[in-house]
Symmetry: C3
Subunit: 141 residues, 3 copies
């Protein structure tokens, strides 16, 4: 199965601001593709939700990251003029810019080659629930 490129779409219903672990869903796509060696490109098609690779063992880590982001990019900051969609809208764009829209992970032995404590998370930055799409491109040269 050399020289293959496969596109798929992972869709998630977020419960509002916070992280959703997408590692297992992505590992399942890699397995289905039959790719033993290659790369997986995660591309989130939004500008107020983003991707992070983060510690996956203690949920406090993501809670603390959120606490830091709330302080660094406060909702309703009078600095912002793009406020028509609510006090969390512009902070969501800034947070997305500070984290990742695009992320590539090696595939080795048929699996995403993550470190022991790494998970891949969709980060919803809006306070309300949203449907979010991550485009996954698996390449096997």
């Amino acid at each position: 199965m050399a020289g293959m490129i496969q596109h798929s779409e992972l869709t998630f219903e977020t419960p509002g601001r916070g992280t959703t672990d997408v590692t297992d869903a992505a590992q399942a796509e890699v397995r289905k593709s039959g790719t033993l060696s290659g790369t997986a490109l995660f591309f989130i098609q939004h500008t107020s939700a983003s991707l992070i690779v983060c510690e996956n063992a203690d949920p406090q880590v993501r809670r603390d990251l959120e606490a830091w982001l709330i302080r660094a990019v406060p909702d309703g900051d009078p600095l912002f003029r793009h406020t028509a969609e609510g006090p969390d809208d512009m902070p969501a764009h800034v947070r997305s810019t500070l984290t990742a829209t695009s992320l590539t992970v090696p595939i080795v032995d048929g699996r995403l080659h993550l470190g022991t404590w790494q998970g891949i998370f969709l980060y919803e930055h809006r306070t309300h629930p949203h449907r979010r799409r991550i485009h996954l491109t698996i390449t096997n040269t």
Copy 2:
């Protein structure tokens, strides 16, 4: 046209600090390459200008992002010692590190597969105009 890799260079004259939309120029390169399915790697060859994926409809979003960055990484901050090239030089390096130097976007149906509200922007972080180069690598496995 399988197994193709194509390198090209997009050059932009920036008017000083701020964003330049490079989406159309990149879409034109993808079209010219004849790639229907693949990936496009954007790599900016500078350390005081960077790449962002951002909301492309309301210019206030990028104005607000700039306002946030100016406050978070102030020009002329006495914290900085690397000041020989001016008060905006070291902040430009910090801003580049907080945003992206490298960005990969899927190509589907012959186009960069962006979300509806996503644009790709070159972010000039220096106050004076510069000529900036983005290296574009289009891969079609």
Copy 3:
């Protein structure tokens, strides 16, 4: 040598918080692979160390970046609850999220196609020394 994908691992012993230039080690891997045209994916398998592309001429730039990060994400910040591993642990996760876990660089004429002043650095965010692994995936379509 078309349609090749090569995985290798670069290992570094960091002396504690700060940057290690990994450009030469990566260029050597590219040379060994015999790849003239392609891409190199750097993926760091940790969540408290990360990757940056940064100015490589004046070490003050990285010293100033560190000064900014220390102020923006203070060690021992009472905001953080994930403190069992020490006051530098949670800041290391935040710093990793603000910089890069995954980075792709074009290969042109058998070399990483970096700008004149660009180097690739492993950024250790913990205060104590660690062994860190960067997975390098060289693709030659």
